[in-house]
Structure formats: C-alpha cells, structure tokens
Symmetry: C2
Subunit: 401 residues, 2 copies
C-alpha cells in the first residue's frame, strides 16, 4: 500500500537570516515523520553543493542537534549567490536524477525562487517528475505574494532596538546621526527603525526609503530643520536610496556586482560617510556621525522575533506537507487575515509568481514628504516584530534656583 519512498534534497540560498534554520528544521522534521520520503540530502551552499555533489545526510542529525541549530542565525547548510546557467541546470538535473531526488526544497529570496522555477521548468521539459518548492526567506521583506517574509521580523527587531539605543545615545550627546540600513530596493527594514519611538521627540526623526527619490538638497534641508527644533537629529537611511532617475546613491560609489546583476551595497561604510560629510559641508553642525549596520542586521544571535521564528518554522513544515499531499511545485506564502487581531495563513502559490521580481513598500506606508513612515506602517509591522525593550525616561522636573 505504502508509496515507494522518494529522496529529498534541501538547500539554502541568498543572504542568511536569523530564522532560516527554523525553516530548515521544520522541513527536515516534517519529512522525517513521513514514510514517503527516503533519503534526506542537505546540499552545502545551495546549488553550488549540487554541482559539486557536496551533500550531507540529514537523517544522521539528532533532534537535539536540529533543535539547537533552529534558533541559531545564518544558514546552517551554507549559502550561495549564484544564478544557474542553462548548462548548470542540465548538470543539476543529472545529479538530482543520479541521487534519485524526487523532492527539491530551496530556501531563499526572489533570486532563489527564480532558481527553483528554472529547475522546475527544466525537469518538466525532461519529463522528470521532480517536485520543486521554494521556502521564502528574506530580511528585505520584498517577496511578491507575501504579506511579509520569514527573516524580516527578526531583522526588523534588531533595527528597531538599535534605533532605540541610538536615540538615547543621541539625546545624551546631541548631534546628527545617520544609520544606514539594509534594503536594496525595498525599504521595509529601514522603515522598521520607527517601531521603537514613544515620545514626540524620539528619533529617528527622518527616514528615507528607496521607494521615494532621494534628493541631497532636500535631505540637508530636512536635517537642518529637525536639528533646529530638537538640537539633534537621528536619521535612518536605506542603503538602496536612489535619485530621481532611479540610480542608487551607494551604487554610484561601488563597482562590485553579483551574478544576479545587483551592485554590492553592504559591507562598506561609504554611503554613511558620504551623507555625513554632506551634512558637515552644508551646515554648521559639528557632531555628525554615521553607522552602517551591516551584517549584524541579519546575523545577530539572541535578538529574534518570536512570531517570525514560529512562522519561519511553519513555512518549512508547510512546504514539505504540500509536497507530500500531492502538489508538484510552489512557494509557501504568508497571507494575513483581515481583522484587528494578527492572524496569518500559509498558502501555496505558483513559483513564477514569487520568482525574480520584488515588491516594495506601499506608498500608504510613507508620508507625503518622503522622509518618514505612516501609522499604517507601524500597524502593519508591529505584530511581526513583537515586543521591544522598554525604555525608561526621567520625568526631569527642573530644580528651582
């Protein structure tokens, strides 16, 4: 009666996140609980591991080991940024055949969804019954079809906490501070900088996203205005801010491009320094500093959103369940149910709908001036990010002379 067991391959791709291993462990444990799945291969460093036949046996991991890996940041199977060529696809497909792989799971962002889609199409063309699933992951929160993506909530929590701290630092030693935050084309992570604000004068006072054209003169005018009002100014800027022709400000300083054609934006302090120097040059403000958050945003341990963590687990589990229930391919999207209470469902959507293209911060989440987020964004993001540290503030009653 039992169906013949087919082998499974799982891999991780793209920028790591703090919860991508939850998805891995969710998928592996669900697969191990089923009799329909035979061997479970983990491919090291995404499709690079397939091309090199660098596989590990995920049945040899104890549950305790898997559960220790699940809450650990970064991709336990290693990652890669590689778009497969048609030649690669032919080879990948031969190797999957050799290992009798019938189930393929690929965790990553829109580029990884594209890779999964390409492999699925190749398999279809060759008449090989390969079930292909994409497991969503991206701190950028820019996957189509998804209300939000696993990895975003935890990275957003790190960013929100960081700004809470920097706001206090900036109050103590007033000046201008620029935080450069990840997000190539989508400003969700930068927008999350607003989540820790409580008091009217709390920073960030200015927030710039890639979704609105960035003009240096307007930026400097904004900073001067805020500085005049509060005697300080805290700014959150996306690494992906671009001018009115759509040319990224940071990319103008960078000449490194990855295999998906994306300019290298992170891992350098150049954009922050450019903005700080511009403020220094165009104003009389002396204390101007810039911090580029860099890779801490996606890899800092112990700073995880509980909701994000649970959802990441669930998308991994759901992908395997969908495959076992007979679906041939897809990506697992997180859909939010209407209503005041935060509720989501996990829905299989066609691969091509999440592949390649990205989504952006809706305009209703950005203020008219293009230098802050709206309450609608806060309402959207707060339940995904969860509780932030409580910050105390003195009543500070002036002493009589």
């Amino acid at each position: 009666m039992a169906a013949k067991a087919g082998n499974m391959m799982i891999a991780q791709s793209g920028g790591p996140s703090m919860v991508i291993n939850q998805s891995l462990v969710g998928a592996v444990l669900t697969a191990r609980a089923s009799k329909e799945i035979g061997r479970i291969y983990g491919s090291m460093h995404g499709i690079k591991g397939i091309l090199n036949e660098d596989f590990i046996n995920l049945r040899k991991e104890t549950v305790a080991t898997l559960e220790s890996v699940a809450p650990s940041p970064s991709s336990a199977l290693g990652s890669v940024r590689q778009k497969p060529t048609p030649k690669d696809c032919t080879k990948i497909f031969e190797i999957l055949k050799k290992y009798k792989v019938e189930y393929f799971f690929y965790a990553g962002g829109n580029d990884s969804a594209e890779t999964t889609y390409i492999i699925q199409e190749e398999a279809k063309a060759a008449g090989y019954p390969l079930k292909c699933f994409h497991i969503p992951k991206t701190i950028d929160n820019d996957l189509k079809e998804n209300d939000h993506t696993p990895g975003f909530g935890s990275a957003a929590k790190f960013v929100a906490c960081s700004l809470q701290g920097l706001n206090l630092d900036n109050r103590a030693l007033p000046g201008v501070h620029v935080s450069v935050i990840m997000g190539r084309h989508a400003g969700f992570l930068t927008a999350a900088a607003a989540l820790g604000r409580v008091h009217e004068d709390d920073g960030p006072h200015l927030i710039y996203l890639p979704e609105k054209p960035f003009a240096m003169s307007r930026f400097v005018a904004d900073v001067k205005r805020v500085y005049k009002k509060y005697g300080r100014c805290l700014i959150a800027v996306s690494e992906g801010i671009a001018d009115n022709k759509g040319v990224s400000i940071a990319a103008q300083l960078s000449n490194e491009v990855d295999s998906h054609g994306n300019a290298q934006l992170s891992g350098t302090g150049a954009l922050g320094d450019l903005l700080a120097n511009e403020i220094k040059a165009k104003s009389k403000i002396e204390r101007v500093r810039a911090d580029t958050f860099g890779y801490l945003q996606r890899s800092f341990p112990g700073m995880v959103s509980d909701v994000d963590s649970a959802e990441a687990r669930k998308v991994g589990e759901t992908a395997v369940k969908e495959a076992l229930s007979g679906a041939k391919s897809g990506s697992i999207a997180i859909k939010r149910k209407p209503g005041k209470k935060y509720k989501v469902s996990f829905v299989r959507v066609p691969l091509r709908k999440v592949a390649k293209f990205t989504s952006h911060v809706p305009l209703k989440y950005i203020n008219k001036a293009g230098n802050d987020v709206t309450q609608a964004f806060i309402d959207y993001a707060a339940p995904i990010v969860g509780k932030l540290p409580k910050i105390g503030r003195l009543k500070a009653v002036p002493a009589g002379k």
Copy 2:
C-alpha cells in the same frame, strides 16, 4: 543630633554605556535613604549643565521611574565631552556654592575622573568642603586601579554576540570580513570578540589590538594564510590600531579632534573600508567586507551582562556610602579577589590615581604574533561578560554517493 543635610549634585559624562544609569539610580536611591543629604540635583549634560544651571530635581522621580531608567542604555542625565578650563572651574565652584552643594558625584571614564579631580583641587584651594566622587564607567575598560570597569561587560557581550553571528554568516557565505570595534588606546573590547568561539575553525581568526604595532603587510599575510586554511577569514580590529610609531591608522584618515585632544575614530566606516580595500588589492580574494560596529556597542538595549549591571549599580551605591561615611573624595574601583571563583570588592581609591591616564591590555592577554588573544584573557573576561547565546552546529555527516 542629626547632621545638617547637605545638597548633592550628580552628573554623567563621556561616552554613554548600557549600564551607566544603574550607577545613577544606585547613587540616587542610596542618597534618598539618608537623612544627611538634602536636595539631589541632576546636572544635565555633565559640567555643561552646571555652567548653565540646568538642573533637575532627582527627589521628584518615583522609584518606578528610576527603576525603568536603570536598565535603559545611555546617560539619562545627558552627557558631555568637555574638559573644564580654570575659568570654568571657578564658575562651577561658584554655582555649586550657590546651590549649597556639599556632595558632587561624576560618572564617567578617565577624562571625567580628571574633571572630578580638578574640581576637588579647586574646592580645596578655596577652602570649600566639597566631597568629590568619581563613579567609574567606560566600555573601553581602561581605567587605572580597576580590574575592569562598569559598562565593559555589556559592551563586550554585544561584541562577542556580534562575532558569533558574523562567524556563522561568514561560514554561510565565505569570504573575508573585518569588524572594526571601539577602543581608542585599549583593546579590551576588541579582544572580547574572541569570547564566543567554540569550534577550532570559529572566527574571529585574527584579532588586532592597539597594544601591538599594526603593520599592513603582516596583516595582509595573516589574512591570506587564514583564508588558505579555512576558505574564509573573520577579523576583529580595534579602531585604535596604530603603527610602530604609535600613530593611529584611523586617525591618519580623520581630522576631527575633541576637547581632550582625542581624534574622532567612531561614527565613520573609513578604517574598515581602508583595510578591506587593502586586502582586495593585495590578494585575489573577491568577497571582502567590513562592518564598523559604531555606537551600537555602547547603546544597544536588551543586551546587558547581568554581572556588569549589578556592579554598575554597586559602584553608584558605594560612592554615596563612602561620602556619607566621612570620606572626602575618591573613585570607586572594582578589585577582583584571587581564586578560581569570580568575586569582586568595591574600594575607594584616590581620584588622581584614576584621572587622565589609561590602562592597557596586559601583554599576557595577547599572543606572541600579535594577532589573537590568549586563554588568560578569556579566563579574565568571561565571568564579567556572562552567558552568551548557544549556537548549534550540524554534525554534517557526508552523504554517500
């Protein structure tokens, strides 16, 4: 019988830390419990607040407010980087007299201890019975007379956690990664990058402190050697690294100097970018990134060492107790008791012994090659920093072909 109540002034100075408000609250609550202390003034932004008569009434804060401020990072009274001139001192002293201040507490690093010392000397010369106390605080951990300083443990925890995450990120997407960590002349905070290492191949693989001359050619050779061995290389570098003439590498890129004569090192990504570009130019390694941790190291909320937090509270309490018990001045130093179990005591030491000069990482804590720390450093720092997040790792049994 009861002594006439004298007024008290407390202020915070220098770079904020994650636990400096514990010291503030410890001092204020201890003072409030004593009948010998009258008004309790908080001076806003250190001595600047005294010069401007910008004081708050710390008796008007509820215990609940104070206890919410205590675990919040940064200086709740605001901070300042200002060395008082002789003219300032005359004015400060006049104002303290006007407010009938008999107790003066100043929380900060060695520069703040120097300020406290100057004010004490001025008071003595004028025959004014002002009790002057310095409450130690510095994430740099470079105060003389102290085994370690409040603020260091929590900042070190942030750094250690950061490197745990970056090590996993670097394993997932191999390359070279440089972390630039705070520490002008003392490398303690950078050394703390080593605390999260567990496995033989865990990074940081190279650690450079200001205490050993930094040579670019040796640095590049080190990186190439590690990269050849592990296929990746994670590096922790102090912002204060200096060449064999003692000239700071970062200061060569900076032209901003504060009132204590210190070059501006933080708030810019220039040093990280310089080192990354040097590696790219001198090796064939493609993926080279640099992150400058910046102000997050001293202000990130929710990432506090319990030991550090408790000790910061205790130094604030002890300073007030010493003043109430009749001592005229001093700084409260943390001394570690000999023996395997971590135990400390809080001892009053003369102000001039902690003022102005700084201590450094002892040579026994640095390896011979000057590119790592020793086990002796780990043994020293681990109890101050406390528990770090547990990181899981797959057993990764290769799959048979």
